[in-house]
Symmetry: D2
Subunit: 353 residues, 4 copies
Amino acid sequence: MTTTTEKIKAGILGASGYTGAEAMRLLLRHPNVEMTLLTADRKAGQPVEEVYPHLGGYGLPDMISVEDADWNTVDVVFCGLPHGTTQEIIATLPAKVKVVDLSADFRLDDPETYAEWYGHEHRALELQKDAVYGLTELYREKIKSARLVACPGCYPTAVLLSLVPLVAAGLIDADDLVIDAKSGITGAGRGLKQNTLFSEAGEGLSPYSIAKHRHAPEIEQEVAKAIGRAAADLRVNFVPHLIPMSRGELITSHVRLAKGKTAADLRAEIAKLYEGEPFVRLLKEGAVPQTQMVRGSNNCVINVFEDRIPGRAIVISAIDNLVKGSSGQAVQNMNLMFGLEETLGLEQAPLFP
Amino acid sequence: MTTTTEKIKAGILGASGYTGAEAMRLLLRHPNVEMTLLTADRKAGQPVEEVYPHLGGYGLPDMISVEDADWNTVDVVFCGLPHGTTQEIIATLPAKVKVVDLSADFRLDDPETYAEWYGHEHRALELQKDAVYGLTELYREKIKSARLVACPGCYPTAVLLSLVPLVAAGLIDADDLVIDAKSGITGAGRGLKQNTLFSEAGEGLSPYSIAKHRHAPEIEQEVAKAIGRAAADLRVNFVPHLIPMSRGELITSHVRLAKGKTAADLRAEIAKLYEGEPFVRLLKEGAVPQTQMVRGSNNCVINVFEDRIPGRAIVISAIDNLVKGSSGQAVQNMNLMFGLEETLGLEQAPLFP
Amino acid sequence: MTTTTEKIKAGILGASGYTGAEAMRLLLRHPNVEMTLLTADRKAGQPVEEVYPHLGGYGLPDMISVEDADWNTVDVVFCGLPHGTTQEIIATLPAKVKVVDLSADFRLDDPETYAEWYGHEHRALELQKDAVYGLTELYREKIKSARLVACPGCYPTAVLLSLVPLVAAGLIDADDLVIDAKSGITGAGRGLKQNTLFSEAGEGLSPYSIAKHRHAPEIEQEVAKAIGRAAADLRVNFVPHLIPMSRGELITSHVRLAKGKTAADLRAEIAKLYEGEPFVRLLKEGAVPQTQMVRGSNNCVINVFEDRIPGRAIVISAIDNLVKGSSGQAVQNMNLMFGLEETLGLEQAPLFP
Amino acid sequence: MTTTTEKIKAGILGASGYTGAEAMRLLLRHPNVEMTLLTADRKAGQPVEEVYPHLGGYGLPDMISVEDADWNTVDVVFCGLPHGTTQEIIATLPAKVKVVDLSADFRLDDPETYAEWYGHEHRALELQKDAVYGLTELYREKIKSARLVACPGCYPTAVLLSLVPLVAAGLIDADDLVIDAKSGITGAGRGLKQNTLFSEAGEGLSPYSIAKHRHAPEIEQEVAKAIGRAAADLRVNFVPHLIPMSRGELITSHVRLAKGKTAADLRAEIAKLYEGEPFVRLLKEGAVPQTQMVRGSNNCVINVFEDRIPGRAIVISAIDNLVKGSSGQAVQNMNLMFGLEETLGLEQAPLFP
């Protein structure tokens, strides 16, 4: 157990993106962490205050170029770089530096699947082998001893927390998972795109990347793993929608029940698995998950509902995509990797309204 | 054909609700209609300007109580009253007054289903028998000669326009329709409810009435009818979500293809059916329906996408819930009932951004 | 009077911007206009449907490069090009083509002021001399015979409609105009900027260009003109704010009354001046202007309120920045320039909610 | 100094309102406070989870009626009851219970002014005499020894923090304060009102209570006090606007400089006064305050800008109305009243985006 007198020195690579900002927000209140390094290539040389005015006045170090980073100043890096780049940078880090990766670079086990979806060969296959998939509640023990944790995508986090227990227990059909996903607009990042302008995305709603989103193979990999099948043999329906709100993600999964099983069986399984978990909570019967319940927090709320079609059920989960869906889960994983209390820095209650 | 010198005299019952306001907005620009009667019980005696400031200055009559209505002053009424009440009022109207009903009162053929979902016996069964279901594109001929048209719910409009052609043609499985619906907040009306306050509904998203929404039996009735089955034997999955925007509705239907059929077959069927329709449009292959495409207009846009799960497809449609989903379709039906050009009063292009 | 059989052929230069889109929306319903030319340099070769999906299906011509424009195909151009460029293009047009300019290029009479605020010498001073400032209600007669009309900026439109009558009548002090302005985000255009991303501009509010906005000298010019003073001798306070909504603009002017004058005197003057105007409306005493009253319409609503500070009053006006604040007023001006009914194409009632 | 083993027992009266919810959110993370009492008359008997789902799972006590409260279980109450009621309840509390009042009941020193603005005689004049006005940074010493602290209104907090130092130092004219205020919709509370429905308040903007808002006399009282004048002799312009966002408040004050003074002088004064303050921060020269900088935090950001009108300046401040504008400042005051570190429970960095 690290003592508070000797703080963990953390670096954030790609600190100018939303996941970087969120990592800063959370780590500012972490009693055992000191932020010693912030990199942001295009913002190199700028104080945090200019890149993120809400974080001004907290004494954070200025942004520098990743090339100017002195790796001796960090015990751990949170890596929010673009995919591909991540692999190259991480491969150059000293072995003593632990890595919590927020990019997609080490999530997919299979190099061919990676190449198919990300458009280039994987550039750090050796590292990939050691990477642990960072869905905390399901991989907690492995994460504790990992050097490199690949945090899941925001959608897979909310999808897998609610569905993996159910497929693993044989309660639902893994080959008929209809996953209708909705996300706030921060999910698209801080890059300048026409479709995320206020006047384009506001007062309206649209699906995107229909059945072609990069999080689909990630979901398939983990669902397949849960039932001992090959990822290549399993396909899920995954349709994300862009919702006119900044944060929040809600997954409506329409599932087919195993013979004789009911929505109540699903609830019971989820209740059992997550009993005592600090951040994952099955709501009371009938209570409806809303993103408003989790905003700004590391919480995930889940519930299950009967369908009108016999033999079907509806599983709903909600998270804040920037917290449990990325930087919060990253901090949760870092806590495990350093033998700290898992909830440190993450105790803040949700912000509503 | 009515000449423009003799305008149709229209009344709006329940003019203080959003569907009433929208009917006023559209009829103000209808060359053949004059609004002679506006009722709103709790706002009786008030000028329109106080109830809807955006409609001030247009010379509309003051709101009066429905009890004070002189039915001799109207040729047609648009009825936006609460369910139950509608039945009672309409039953008292002179036979010469045509009725375009925006409530749920005459949508369900089966009195038992009505009683089950609306909590009381139907009070105007005789009228129910003559009511025509007002989904214009699918019931056009019947509407032309109807005295009482029951305009569909907003969700059924968007669902049925996209799915009925496909089940009718045997292209998809009517017993495995997963209908994930999203609506703007005007869908909940102007009544005061905590969950539709700005600070509650904004910056967040939630499902509601999960598998228990009153539009489900309406959808089932029409899908069953399309394939000659009894409504009672058909069940659909229907999960609506409340989206932080005022207007707009998008339906993501996850459907199972009939053996050997493809998403392309679905597109072809929809293209064929709606060719030449003024308001329903199949988008180009790959183009994604958005509610932003139809805001303020009577348009419906549709498209079909391949799913990753073999044997499945995704059908998406979008409308403005207050226009094609209620008052616009009502005006479209009125045009048919009076032998007018179907598009009159509805030619306005969508408002974007 | 142009007959409907021979439509005015209109071109829109810079059709890919928001003012271009709005001009298209309005002209689509103009009975005497046909859009024959749409230019958009970076979108050249694309159908309208790809640039603005909501305008698909209306049979508009494809976008072309301004260099490929055949000026023989147009009677009038609406010019929504960036400043500077506008001057160069317009200077090359055949004299028979009328110009309704939506840019800032011909708004400022004084070349030095133009150069100071826009960073370069004016490139079409000859044209500038003939340009008429297109604030319709105040320059109606001049506009009728103009070849080139410079439509005012969105802020000046709402400011001047409410304040010019009052300074002209000597009712308020022109040297103590405090103009606190609020605008929706479309005012910043469709260009990609970080501060207009949904996640940056949503759920928040900020002033910008504080006392440095380019619309300040435009306001000063017209206020000075109204009282026969030199623009250089008059300074106004002008602080715009970015509001998390797409459309709409509201101006709160805090004014000092001339000795002995009251808020009621201000109301009376405005009432007198705008009596019978189709688009400018003084609200009933005490009724509060809201942008919700004018959305999507060419309307401007105004009212005046007593202040708590003796000798002061508060004047409030609201418009839709894309309609009366730009493309709607442009169409209104075009109607005048071609001897048409001033309201053609602009009769649509506001969209609310 | 209270030790952590013996926590302060806090009650929240009126816990079902937004200020109550925000107090719960903040106190949940306060190391020295335990919430032992939550009252909410209409929600009596309900668990917190039903009234505020985002606060479910934290082990808070159920809501009870204020009549059933056992005052022996609390050391301090946060009082978020409606005005009038507050006076009656507080008057019945045992003297040992400290009171942090979030209502308007004890803000106004002068009973006549209270009666004029709140419509009834003050019912606890004895208590009023002992009440300390809880604008922490300006009344810190008095608050430390107070039993009853009357937290300022949200608007007065943001207004006074930025203006009082300037009038007190004689840098600006107290008789020409034009205060243009903008607030998110939570400022209107959780009560059901038509104008705060999402579909009414969204995508639009309006002023309200123009020069008639109850916070005006509160501002006048404190400005007058700062310069030793009678409140009755001082009038400010105060025009609040309702902005389509949930949280946040921004004040644009248009001020007249004392002879020879400049915006730089104003900045210097503010910098001097707030140096070392944990929550109030003067931004760098030219940096623009935004509500996005303070969301969810107890921070207040301020800056000063030159005006175009000679002799004038613009002072801008921003806060989160639910935190520094109410419950956060309340916790800050409680900390002082109990001899705790002033920042406890309030260290969370702002939430952006």
